[in-house]
Structures are given as C-alpha cells and as structure tokens.
C-alpha cells in the first residue's frame, strides 16, 4: 500500500516525531511504500539542517534523510509554518534577505495543497501530533 505520514510535533519536545519514525521504518519493512512525510506546525523543526543532538540520542534529522535515500520518501515541509519559525531554504533566505539558510534538500518547502494531494493520492495517511 501507499502511505503518507503527517508529523505535527517538534523533535525532542514530544514523542510525535519518534512515533512517526518508528512507524515509518516498520511500514517500509513490511513492504509498503512510504510516499511522503509531511511536516506541519512545530513538526517543521524536523527539517532544521543544523540539528546536532547528543551522540547517544536518536538523530531524527539524519533518520528522515535516510528514509529519503533508501526508499525515495519525499520530505515535504509546510512553507507557511516553516518561514515564520526561521526555517528557510536557500531561495527563501535570499528572497527575505537572510544571510544563511536552515533547510536544504532532501527536505523541500511546499504548500498545504501538496498535503491535500497526498491525502487523495495515497491509500493511508496517518497523523502523528504532539
């Protein structure tokens, strides 16, 4: 089956990101396709490219990247939720006159319309909220 996950909780604040990641790795192990993970609300902090958690803790950012690398899972970030939290890719950083960027591929800033499309294009959409 084709799956998508909606993550609304910030990493290391609530269990949502950990629950979503655990569900994600299990579902691909069962042979399903994880089309996309969509990060919304405080969930957008999962896309912060400078995340540097202690070495003895799960590295959520790297884990999401691995999902993309190994299974082609799209990592979509709500652009409206991201920009107001200081999460900008190179293009948005330039547009807003910022000296650095905090989001880079494989994470991509995208609109809520993409979430609607996802909901219609996959067999299951599962939400993990704080």
């Amino acid at each position: 089956m084709r799956y998508a996950l909606l993550v609304e909780g910030a990493p290391y604040s609530s269990q949502a990101s950990h629950s979503a990641l655990r569900f994600a790795t299990t579902l691909v192990a069962r042979g399903h396709q994880l089309v996309s993970v969509f990060f919304y609300h405080d969930g957008v902090y999962n896309a912060a490219r400078l995340a540097a958690p202690p070495q003895d803790e799960p590295h959520l950012y790297d884990a999401w990247r691995s999902l993309h690398a190994e299974h082609g899972t799209e990592l979509q970030v709500c652009i409206a939720a991201a920009l107001r939290r200081g999460l900008l890719d190179e293009r948005e950083a330039e547009r807003h006159g910022k000296s650095g960027h905090s989001v880079e591929p494989p994470f991509e800033l995208t609109g809520l319309g993409q979430l609607i499309d996802l909901g219609q294009g996959v067999d299951r959409l599962v939400t993990f909220a704080p």
Partner: protein
C-alpha cells in the same frame, strides 16, 4: 472500519470522549504514547463500551514500565501490529 489513534490518557485529557463519541460500531481504538495509560486496569473503565476493539501499543507500555499493569481486556500490539491495524482499516483518525 476506521482506526482511531489516541495519544492522551483519560486522566489528563478529555480527548478520549471525543474519540469514543466519533466511533462507529466496528471502529477500533489504538492507545499510543501517554495514551497507553488508559489501558491500565485502574483506567480502562473509560473504554468499557468498546471492549474487544481497544488496542494498546506494546512499545509505549514498555517504555513506561506499564506492560505488567495493562488490563487483560486490552489487545496489546507492537508497532508491526500498529501498521497491520492501519492496513485493515479504511482510514485512520488521530485524536490529541
């Protein structure tokens, strides 16, 4: 059949009431994260009306040291079983 997913315990949130009110006769409810507290014998009475359709996530029970206190009426599943529940359901609804 819809799989409802609840991550709040009945002791600190009334989200479980909304979930129960929204459930149809054959829907299922899975307790995850802090929601697994609702599976304890001392709290499971809140879910009496859906006995046989109440599930709890084993990993989240274990992480809280509660596996031994889970009520016998609750169906305990691991994450693999969680995925399986989503396969069997037409869709999922998360309550939080």
């Amino acid at each position: 059949m819809i799989l409802h997913i609840l991550n709040r315990p009945p002791s600190s949130s009334l989200a479980y009431r909304d979930a129960l009110a929204a459930m149809a006769g054959n829907d299922r409810l899975l307790l995850i994260e802090d929601g697994v507290m609702g599976a304890l014998t001392s709290q499971v009475r809140h879910f009496q009306e859906i006995e046989g359709r109440l599930f709890a996530l084993r990993e989240d029970l274990s992480a809280r040291g509660l596996e031994g206190q889970c009520d016998a009426s609750v169906l305990v599943v691991d994450v693999d079983g969680f995925v399986s529940l989503t396969e069997e359901a037409d869709k999922t609804v998360s309550w939080f």
